[in-house]
């Protein structure tokens, strides 16, 4: 099973804004995390893979065949969970899943079994007959995950799957994804680095429509091995440090402040300790010079 993004490009605003620029990637069964700042092209990529958007150039193929030509066949093995959004407030949870089952062309008995299993999996059995309008944000996320899994898809696209979930649910969903991903291609776009840090087979870092890095987490971390340091300073020096370095964490301690920074070279003039990098440090290292858009 193989999903290929072959030099896909997509522009908006009559070519003025390039969302994806000759994007190439190969996906095989496993979990893939897509990380990038706002405007990097993640949503565009998701929409192209789900055939909601046609690329300006290049194509997406599944097992060597273009997904545009496969059409129904491709959508039959696709599951999509977009970022939290509006759903039918008047639908109950169970009606919504039956509706999605009808859209996914499931047989009635198959649908019945799967809906029941999925409601249990996402812990919504008790709220199944409540209207979606009354669901909390987290519950809406869970029902969206459930609908994405209804047709037991071979390709699962998830956009911020754990947004709005509490830590316990996050862990649950994360573990659930890693169990089902054995024979699926799961592509997760997220800002929550811990969601993919431990379960992803490969991480794709994307910036301005281009892949910066696509590699296993351990290799990516290796690239920033000696670039993450902790320094101990007084409270007065914190501002100065923030102006000079990329700061990934500030922790108050008994006799000062411990600042975790990402820098090419070890900072001079401080009590410094080089530490093991995390994926967040990598994110900061790669995208830390992006101005924050408020």
């Amino acid at each position: 099973m193989n999903l290929s993004i072959n030099c896909v490009s997509k522009s908006y605003n009559k070519g003025k804004k390039k969302a994806l620029d000759s994007f190439c990637a190969e996906f095989t069964p496993g979990v893939y995390g897509v990380l990038g700042p706002n405007g990097a092209g993640k949503s565009t990529l998701m929409n192209i893979i789900t055939d909601n958007l046609k690329p300006d150039a290049g194509e997406v193929t599944y097992n060597g065949k273009s997904i545009a030509q496969l059409g129904k066949e491709y959508r039959d093995i696709l599951g999509y969970m977009p970022q939290q959004q509006g759903i039918y407030d008047d639908f109950t949870g169970v009606r919504f899943l039956w509706y999605m089952a009808a859209l996914k062309d499931l047989k009635k008995d198959v649908a019945r079994v799967r809906i029941e299993n999925l409601l249990n999996t996402v812990n919504l059995m008790q709220d199944a007959n409540k209207k979606l309008g009354a669901y909390s944000g987290g519950m809406k996320q869970r029902i969206l995950i459930a609908q994405a899994l209804l047709n037991d898809p071979k390709i699962l696209i998830m956009d911020e799957p754990t947004a709005g979930l509490d830590p316990k649910e996050r862990i649950r969903i994360r573990n659930f994804i890693s169990t089902i991903a054995l024979n699926k291609i799961v592509i997760i776009a997220t800002h929550v680095v811990p969601d993919i840090e431990f379960i992803a087979k490969e991480i794709i870092l994307i910036k301005e429509g281009k892949i910066i890095v696509q590699d296993e987490p351990v290799n990516i971390l290796e690239n920033v091995k000696d670039k993450v340091h902790e320094i101990y300073v007084s409270k007065d020096e914190v501002d100065n440090i923030q102006k000079k370095y990329k700061v990934s964490n500030i922790a108050s301690e008994k006799d000062g402040v411990c600042i975790r920074i990402v820098a090419e070279n070890k900072p001079q003039g401080f009590e410094v300790k080089t530490v093991k990098p995390s994926l967040e440090d990598v994110y900061l290292y790669m995208f830390g010079d992006e101005s924050v858009n408020f």
């Binding site: 696709l78 009808a102 062309d105």
Partner: protein, 806 residues
């Protein structure tokens, strides 16, 4: 002020506004121009010549001018006879001409010396213009007498006991009326062409177009932020409540004023261009249309006040709409409520009797307020709790109060957040009931879910209920009563209906002969009595019998006319025609206003039902999930289309069934198997079909038109993606034309979807079936095109809106 500026930006940044408003302004001007050129072509084309003639008689005393013009008309008519007699080799005309020459010596010489000898066109033109000038002068002649006689008429009425009841409205009204006209006794009236002023100030199409524009402005000012979820964000800011609400109202009012001035002003300008307004300093009472006005205004003042009045009413409408938009969240519900308000206003205005104790409902409503001509140009006292109050002052007082209440109400609701205003227990109960009674659908049939979405998520069940209510209201539950003439006619048709055979012909001939013999019969009975051949009792009996028979004469004349028509058709077309009860056929086939109203109701309900089918999925972003599924493309699209068609069919059945129920229940529908050409209005129909077959054909065509209409509405909803906008645009394309047609602009019928509701009119007017065939061919092609375009848009419009770039 900054906030107001931003509200203007919100409006003017919308391409739809920048396209629709100029289009509507152009349409407004075009429709007025077309109507005037069609109805008054002669005057428009010969305007300079009219004013030339008017100038001649302006300074002459009115009576003398009338006399001279009358003589001139007679002379021109005689000249026309001369020309016609010379051109046509007709002994009749020659005889008339000889008579004329005898009575008017010198006529021929006068004609030969005139400029009309070789110019018949100029003769006809001048004849028409002189007659028009004569009509314009008439109001000037006896105006003083009319005013002076008011007191006498009042005294006469008060001499009748029913009007002399002190303390009653009628008494007070009679006393008041002469006093209200006292100041007009000595005014000087001058001649002037009234066509421009009257037509410009009575052109009701502009009202419809302005209301549409106001609705559009309200959508962008109030509804868009609700639908996009921005309202919560705006309300959390320091200036996000009262300041924003006030800014929106200021923007709405100012834009309404400007647009009203442009819309109505452009009509006045065009009217001046086409007709001219003449001397603006003359009093409006110089024109027949304003004879009964007691407001002393010059023409110039009237036009200015007219414009001010219209602007005021438009602003009032905008304020009323703003209350609805602020109070209600759902575009469909707003549309329904505003339609209900306008519908109630229209019904009250049209159907409440002016002297009824409910006349306040007739005159204190928005539809009446729009009739600025009536407010300024007609004298009317409204029964205000027994006291006669001049309509103008009452309306002004009412509007002044509303101008204070409505903005305060709008701002208050906006600030308080309408969800707390609208919360009702009943909604909660209904939701619980639905959950218990309607099992959450465990179905894998896509169409079941799509129906559920439309009916409940889209609240279309309310529309269906409303349609049922309207249908019920249109059904005559009580027995229909006929007047004497119609009752006699019905009794004749009970005997005669069906194919014309020898027996029926003999019956008609015998009846005809008996009517012809009636005077002789009367005379014979009198003679027999006077000769003592019959007793008084017998005389009275026979006389009563003959008199009773004589009462049927008018009804029989109708039968005879029908019979002669049937003979003509039988002879010319060789069809086996027969009698069809004209009262029944007129009820069904010759009821243009009912067809227009039904069409209007149908299209409004259809738009409200269908616009929600696609827009719901776009609104909540579900479209991206749906389209990723196996059946989420063509199958889902086809299901939605089928749902739309079924709704179109159901609404059609509900709205149009009552007229057939009424027909079968109350009218004679026997023997409608005869050819449709048996009915006079369908004499030109050139298809061999029975009356029943014709009804079925028209209904099938109507249904086909409705399905094509559904296609078009779906396409618009897929293009606009927003519920409120799709309703707006669909209304503009499909409701506006029928509203304009109801205002009297009939030429739109074949250039819009109006014709599908007016199939009976279409067949009665068109001279060939091919005209109807062509119309439907165009519709079918349109339908197919819109289906394809809609599919392409749905399938290929791949989230160009709403992609969150991350």
């Amino acid at each position: 002020m900054k906030l107001v500026a931003y509200e203007y930006i919100k409006i003017f940044s919308k391409k739809l506004v920048l396209v629709i408003v100029p289009l509507l302004i152009l349409a407004n001007v075009f429709l007025y121009y077309q109507q005037q050129v069609r109805d008054n072509e002669y005057i428009v084309k010969n305007n300079p010549r009219y004013y030339e003639l008017e100038n001649i008689y302006r300074s002459i005393p009115v009576d003398k001018a009338l006399n001279e013009i009358s003589n001139q008309i007679d002379t021109l008519k005689d000249f026309h006879i001369i020309i016609t007699a010379n051109a046509a080799n007709n002994p009749g005309f020659q005889a008339i001409l000889e008579e004329k020459k005898k009575n008017r010596p010198g006529l021929m010489e006068k004609f030969m010396d005139s400029s009309y000898v070789n110019d018949e066109e100029a003769l006809l033109r001048d004849l028409f213009l002189y007659e028009e000038l004569y009509t314009q002068l008439i109001p000037l002649t006896n105006y003083k007498d009319y005013i002076n006689s008011m007191q006498n008429r009042a005294d006469e009425m008060l001499s009748v006991s029913i009007f002399n009841e002190k303390g009653a409205f009628s008494y007070r009204n009679i006393i008041k009326t002469p006093k209200d006209f006292e100041h007009l006794k000595n005014i000087t009236l001058k001649v002037g062409l009234d066509k421009g002023i009257v037509s410009a100030t009575q052109f009701s199409v502009t009202d419809i177009l302005v209301v549409i524009v106001i609705f559009l402005l309200c959508i962008y000012l109030f509804l868009q932020e609700k639908e996009s979820g921005l309202l919560k964000l705006i309300r959390t800011n320091k200036k996000g409540r009262v300041d924003v609400a006030v800014a929106k109202l200021i923007a709405l009012i100012s834009l309404t004023i400007v647009l009203a001035v442009v819309f109505y002003g452009s009509i006045i300008i065009i009217a001046n261009y086409l007709y001219g307004f003449g001397d603006l300093s003359r009093y409006i009472q110089s024109m027949t249309a304003f004879r009964h006005s007691n407001v002393l205004l010059t023409v110039g003042e009237y036009l200015s006040l007219f414009l001010v009045g219209k602007v005021t009413v438009c602003v009032l409408s905008a304020l009323i709409f703003s209350v609805f938009f602020v109070l209600i969240n759902n575009a469909g519900k707003i549309y329904l409520c505003i339609t209900a308000l306008l519908g109630y206003s229209y019904i009250s205005y049209v159907f409440v009797h002016p002297l009824s104790h409910l006349n306040l409902a007739k005159y204190i409503n928005i539809i009446y307020f729009f009739n600025t001509y009536s407010l300024l140009g007609q004298y009317k006292n409204i029964n205000f709790f027994g006291y006669p109050v001049h309509n103008l002052w009452l309306v002004m007082a009412c509007i002044s109060v509303l101008f204070i209440i409505l903005p305060v109400l709008s701002v208050t609701i906006y600030v308080k957040n309408n969800s707390s205003v609208l919360k009702t227990v009943s909604f909660g109960i209904w939701s619980k009931l639905k959950l218990k009674v309607i099992k959450p659908g465990r179905s894998i049939q896509l169409i079941n879910h799509e129906f559920f979405k439309v009916l409940f998520t889209g609240k279309v069940y309310i529309i269906i209920l409303l349609a049922l209510l309207i249908g019920y209201n249109n059904t005559y539950l009580k027995e229909l009563r006929f007047n004497q003439e119609d009752a006699f006619y019905n009794s004749y048709l009970n005997v005669l209906s069906g194919e014309l055979n020898e027996e029926k012909v003999n019956f008609i001939v015998n009846e005809k002969n008996r009517f012809a013999y009636l005077p002789t019969e009367f005379a014979n009975i009198r003679k027999d009595y006077s000769e003592g051949k019959i007793t008084l009792h017998e005389y009275n009996e026979k006389k009563a019998e003959v008199e009773a028979f004589a009462l049927k004469e008018e009804a029989f004349q109708k039968v005879l006319t029908q019979y002669e028509y049937l003979l003509k058709v039988k002879e010319s077309k060789g069809l086996e025609v027969g009698f069809v009860n004209r009262i029944s056929s007129d009820y069904l086939f010759n009821n243009h206003s009912r067809d227009i109203i039904n069409g209007m109701i149908y299209i409004i309900l259809l738009i409200l039902s269908i616009c929600v089918i696609f827009t719901n999925d776009y609104k909540n972003g579900m479209i991206s999930i749906l389209r990723c599924t196996k059946n989420g493309r063509f199958k889902l699209f086809a299901c939605k289309q089928i749902v739309a068609y079924i709704i179109a069919f159901i609404l059609m059945v509900i709205i149009y069934t009552p007229q057939y129920v009424n027909l079968i229940k109350n009218y004679n529908v026997e023997n409608w198997g005869v050819p449709i050409q048996s009915i006079m209005i369908f004499q030109n129909v050139d298809i061999p079909v029975s009356v029943f077959g014709f009804i079925i054909l028209c209904n099938v065509l109507q249904l086909l038109g409705a399905l094509i209409l559904a296609n078009c509405i779906l396409f618009l909803s897929v293009v606009t993606k927003k519920h409120s906008l799709s309703i707006m645009v669909a209304s503009m394309f499909f409701v506006c034309p029928i509203l304009i047609q109801s205002a009297g602009i009939n030429f739109l019928r074949r250039y819009s979807f109006n014709n599908i509701y007016l199939m009976f009119t279409e067949f009665s007017i068109s001279t060939s079936i091919w005209e109807t065939v062509l119309y439907y061919m165009v519709l079918v092609v349109l339908g197919i095109c819109f289906f394809v375009l809609c599919w392409n848009k749905y399938n290929h419009n791949l989230l160009t809106f709403g992609v969150r770039k991350r």
